[in-house]
């Protein structure tokens, strides 16, 4: 089962003070991420599995309730966009 996501080679995730947001940088491009996308990608480290990521986020945002649907949906989309790949 491919369950551990990592950023695709050549993609960089970082906080940009001027835009007050997280961004994803890649060859000649940049996506400005909203807060939840930024929070999810911040957990993508090539070590944590999808389930670990959900657990980490639920611990960080205890008031948000169950997050697995949102997290899985976002990771699927990120994978369709080829931003992340699965180990």
């Amino acid at each position: 089962m491919e369950t551990i996501p990592r950023l695709r080679r050549g993609f960089r995730f970082q906080w940009e003070p001027a835009q007050q947001s997280h961004v994803l940088l890649y060859p000649e491009g940049m996506v400005k991420l909203n807060d939840s996308a930024g929070a999810i990608l911040a957990e993508v480290d090539g070590v944590k599995s999808r389930a670990d990521i959900v657990a980490a986020l639920e611990a960080r945002f205890p008031d948000a309730g169950a997050l697995s649907d949102d997290v899985f949906a976002f990771l699927d989309e990120a994978s369709r966009q080829h931003w992340i790949e699965w180990l």
């Binding site: 695709r8 080679r9 050549g10 993609f11 960089r12 970082q14 940009e16 003070p17 001027a18 835009q19 961004v23 940088l25 890649y26 060859p27 000649e28 491009g29 940049m30 080829h82």
Partner: protein
């Protein structure tokens, strides 16, 4: 000239293009460098460039392109790459591949370079080398594309498309796939600089373009079917559109170019406009971006004459490209003549007709080299 832009909120420059030099071993007849580049030999020093990078990053720039000319002729490139990486830029090297070696590819990676874009002229050595004006270019490009891949960079291959290579789309894409490209840019010539001087000999006909689009779409569909990650970007020529492109996403809105001598520009071809642009050796980048007359010249829409002034699409395309308006109508304030509402749209129509009947071969093009540049400089 004063421009009303008081109601216009100016965002930070997110993209910095550092044109390190106009020197280049190749002679592409579509080069976007100024026609008189040979008379502009001044280049910023290493320290001056590092200072520009630092200021740009402080303003908010996140993407940095090193281009030229051929940026590899700058011996201080590793130092500039290292400085850029330290500042937190995503750093792109835009190169012809000439002058690159495997050792440099690795050294740049160690210095923190994020990505190398190698440009090709065609999918076969004969045509490639004829367009580039260099006999050894193709083999070198192939070798360097492989080295880039080997070193683990994401690979972007760029092809400038014109009437002499537009029939090669399928071969070009197959070559890219074979080399392991992550992105392919098929960039149809934009007619500025040398390309404008050579437009008749470069512009594809509508039939050629339609055929090319069919082939690209077929290839794209195949890639999707195979779940292949290679992404194909096909920039079609705006000469076949009825509305202009939103050039640079709006004048002075995202992009900041610094030319080899330190001239700051809202776009790399803006130098041809009859506007005075500031220089980084005389003002801070912040002053230049937010307060210089050059950068404020076409911000907002107060400067627009008709038909743009009363047009309800002006927030969408900002009246198109100022350079194109200037080159084709003689007045940079005018609507980009690509627009069907422009009174000068006939100039675009004439160019399309000319493309249907063009017979010029590659040998008829004016190649970008110092000798030809001095001719333009005098005229």
């Amino acid at each position: 000239m004063t421009t009303s832009h008081t109601d216009h909120k100016i965002g930070p420059p997110l993209w910095l293009l550092a044109e390190l030099t106009y020197r280049c071993p190749l002679q592409c007849p579509y080069c976007s460098n100024p026609l008189d580049y040979a008379s502009q030999e001044q280049e910023l020093s290493t320290q001056q460039w590092l200072d520009v990078l630092q200021q740009g990053r402080a303003l908010g720039a996140a993407q940095l392109g090193f281009s030229g000319g051929e940026p590899l002729v700058r011996q201080d490139l590793p130092e500039l790459i290292g400085g850029a990486r330290e500042l937190g830029y995503y750093t792109n090297l835009i190169t012809s591949g000439l002058g690159l070696t495997e050792t440099k590819v690795k050294a740049f990676a160690d210095a923190g370079l994020d990505h190398i874009q190698v440009s090709f002229q065609a999918s076969d050595p004969e045509l490639n080398n004829a367009v580039a004006g260099s006999r050894k270019a193709f083999q070198q490009k192939l070798a360097m594309a492989r080295a880039v891949k080997e070193a683990g960079y994401p690979m972007v291959l760029n092809f400038v498309i014109h009437r002499h290579n537009i029939h090669q789309m399928t071969d070009i894409l197959a070559l890219c796939e074979n080399l392991g490209a992550d992105y392919v840019e098929l960039a149809t010539c934009q007619y500025y600089g040398w390309a404008f001087a050579n437009r008749e000999g470069l512009m594809p006909s509508r039939a050629q373009l339609a055929e090319a689009e069919t082939r690209v779409n077929r290839y794209r569909a195949e890639l999707v079917e195979r779940d292949h990650p290679m992404k194909v970007i096909f920039v079609t020529p705006d000469y076949y559109e009825e509305r202009p492109k939103a050039c640079m996403n709006g004048w002075g809105s995202l992009f900041l170019t610094v030319a080899p001598d330190g001239t700051a520009l809202p776009c790399h071809s803006a130098r041809l406009l009859p506007i005075e642009f500031p220089n980084v050796t005389q003002a801070s980048l912040e002053d230049i971006w937010y307060r210089s007359p050059g950068f404020n010249h076409y911000r907002g829409d107060g400067w627009m004459p008709e038909p743009c002034r009363s047009c309800d699409e002006k927030d969408k395309d900002f009246g198109g490209c100022r350079c194109q308006a200037y080159l084709l109508t003689g007045n940079a304030d005018n609507a980009d003549p690509v627009c069907a509402k422009s009174p000068q749209h006939d100039r675009i129509l004439a160019a399309r007709t000319a493309a249907d009947h063009a017979t010029a071969g590659l040998e008829d093009l004016t190649y970008r080299n110092a000798r030809n540049s001095r001719v333009f400089c005098r005229s």
